[in-house]
């Protein structure tokens, strides 16, 4: 598929633990178009972060292992590259923003040095050039008096400001893809709103593709164009953002939407909770991984794991049943 800049096919990642082999990602396939913002939603342990770390080959190995799959970036498979080739891609063409800006910045190096490092490494800038560019980048992400702050250490910045520094660092080499792993989860809502506004502006100015991982459906609604919902290491629903919220099909997606109170709620409705717990998979299930928690589960759900099936334009869902009509697919 030539229109995808990133084309992931059948990715599988496992972790060896004392209790057995945990299947964290079980055959995930998706494409990312140029300049597109793709939201990935799921609860903790659903495999959303592991999928992205696998693509960038940042899974600690052992215990982690990328067991299967391909990840074609502009036609080249990231998973079969040498480490040296991978280093030229990471940070330069695909970069990542992590969840916790305090632990992902080096506390004993100044912000300036940390910003200059990728510029000198990937773009071959001299220290002076890099210094100038670093100040520009800080200004671009809305840090006042950027030039004077290059000599500051991470602890001299607030949480929101640190996340801005992380964003500046991720964008420093003008990557084609930015992967953001829950970048606003650790922040307060008013600061989260600032960061989301910043990302929207930078996306319009720079035109990079973004993969935004989050557990917050509200954040996805305001930012993404297309959404993948993950559960138990599988993609269980995939749709354009308006379609997903207007016409959710998978019982898990329905459950997630029902369990969120809305600030614009009218009257008092009881929340729809999903009973039970997310699974830890010690073997690839031959049944639907959501079946144990599913209100609509029928016999077939326990016998066969449903593949993603098209239910509309660009809308695919992994469920044997159309839950609104009660008919089999």
């Amino acid at each position: 598929m030539p229109d995808f800049i990133l084309d992931v096919q059948g990715l599988e990642t496992t972790f060896k633990t004392p209790d057995g082999v945990v299947h964290a990602v079980n055959g995930v396939s998706f494409g990312l178009k140029e300049g597109e913002t793709l939201g990935i939603v799921g609860e903790s342990g659903c495999g959303k972060s592991v999928t992205m770390l696998s693509l960038l080959r940042l899974i600690p190995s052992p215990p982690g292992k990328i067991a299967n799959g391909k990840a074609l970036f502009l036609g080249r498979d990231l998973l079969s590259m040498t480490n040296e080739e991978m280093r030229h891609i990471r940070g330069a063409q695909i970069s990542m923003i992590f969840q916790d800006p305090m632990t992902s910045l080096n506390p004993v190096l100044t912000i300036g040095l940390q910003l200059q490092e990728p510029l000198m490494l990937h773009l071959g800038m001299t220290r002076e050039q890099a210094q100038g560019r670093a100040a520009e980048l800080l200004g671009m992400v809305g840090i006042p008096k950027a030039k004077d702050r290059l000599g500051d250490f991470p602890h001299q910045f607030s949480g929101g400001m640190r996340q801005r520094v992380m964003i500046a660092m991720a964008l420093s080499c003008s990557p084609q893809i930015v992967i953001a792993d829950e970048p606003t989860t650790a922040l307060d809502v008013t600061i989260q709103a600032q960061i989301m506004e910043l990302v929207r502006r930078l996306r319009d100015e720079l035109g990079m593709a973004i993969i935004w991982i989050t557990h917050d459906l509200g954040v996805v609604a305001g930012l993404a164009q297309r959404v993948l919902v993950m559960y138990g290491g599988y993609i269980i629903e995939e749709a354009p953002v308006k379609e997903l919220f207007a016409n959710p099909q998978h019982p898990y997606t329905l459950g997630l939407l029902g369990s969120l109170p809305r600030v614009d709620e009218r009257g008092h409705q009881r929340l729809v909770s999903i009973d039970g717990l997310p699974p830890v998979l010690y073997e690839k299930p031959n049944y639907c991984p959501f079946a144990p928690r599913c209100k609509y589960a029928v016999e077939r759900c326990w016998k066969e794991n449903p593949p993603l099936m098209a239910v509309g334009p660009e809308h695919r869902v992994a469920c044997w049943e159309d839950v609104r009509t009660g008919k089999a697919r």
Binding site: E43, S44, S158, G160, M161, D188, V189, T190, I191, Q192, A193, Q194, M196, E197, H215, D216, L217, G218, V219, V220, A221, G222, V241, K242, F245, A246, G255, L256, L257, G258, S259, L260, P261, R262, V263, D264, E265, H268, R270, L271, V272, S273, I274, D275, L277, P278
Partner: protein, 332 residues
Amino acid sequence: MTEANNGALLRVENLVKHFPITQGIIIQKQVGAVHAVDGISFDVHQGETLGLVGESGCGKSTTGRTVLQLFRPTSGSVHFDGVDLVNLKGEDLRKMRRKMQMIFQDPYASLNPRMTVGEIIGEPLTVHKVASQREINDRVASLLELVGLSAAFSTRYPHEFSGGQRQRIGVARALALQPSFIVCDEPISALDVSIQAQVVNLLEDLQKQFNLTYLFIAHDISMVRHISNRIAVMYLGVIVELADRDELYLKPLHPYTQALLSAVPIPDPIADAKRARIILTGDVPSPVNPPSGCRFRTRCPIAQDVCSQSRPEFRELRPGHFVACFFAERFL
């Protein structure tokens, strides 16, 4: 808040809690104070849920703990059921504590890993010497079933449970002494979305069943709006607005509340795109050295000179709707 004690189970007046900052190792002298809570007043009525919402560091958890006298207030008064808690000590305070319990934020840190679930839930009964061991066992079993767990779990240890189940254990412990008032300090923020709804539904069911009164502390204004009857919004140690849940959402009178409401993402792309966004600039100032006058003036879009000179009075602008802003009238 001038009405007589009609229905107010808890009355907090001008509550202040400062934490001293000291310098020196042997001879310590105080060099400043963290103004965690700086003069707040509110009532909690019998059977209602009062939501306390604000961003991290605004003093909402300190308020919860100071109300229960887990921290002793610097000044101000807390009346529970007509009794002034601030001046109570020793056995008298312990007796009052039976009626007021707390559910903590972190279900991993708030349960002793070396005690069985039965011991954890039964401990309040043992400490307050209100039941024999046999009665305790029966009571633990019925409490476990009440919160949706199996009575057979009483011999297990906390590590055998998931976050949501642990929080249910925390709820059972809080209910053991049949309190009338529970402070819920961010009881769901450590849990996954689908589990949050389970715990919130449980809290609502228990409230109906036992006519409980909650002070529900959280940073998530959509969840607070869902569970509360009235909401108090805190910013940097003060309550800036207090109103009925629908009134607060439909007619927010304080610029901070307006910004907070507009910053909450709505899980609906069409409704979300239609909203006007108020993006605040800057960060929350340090509570060690809070701004003079109105605490919010450094980030406020409508701040004027007067805001730095004196503190706006917390006044009732509409029936039951209190706000601390000089210019709130313009939003009426």
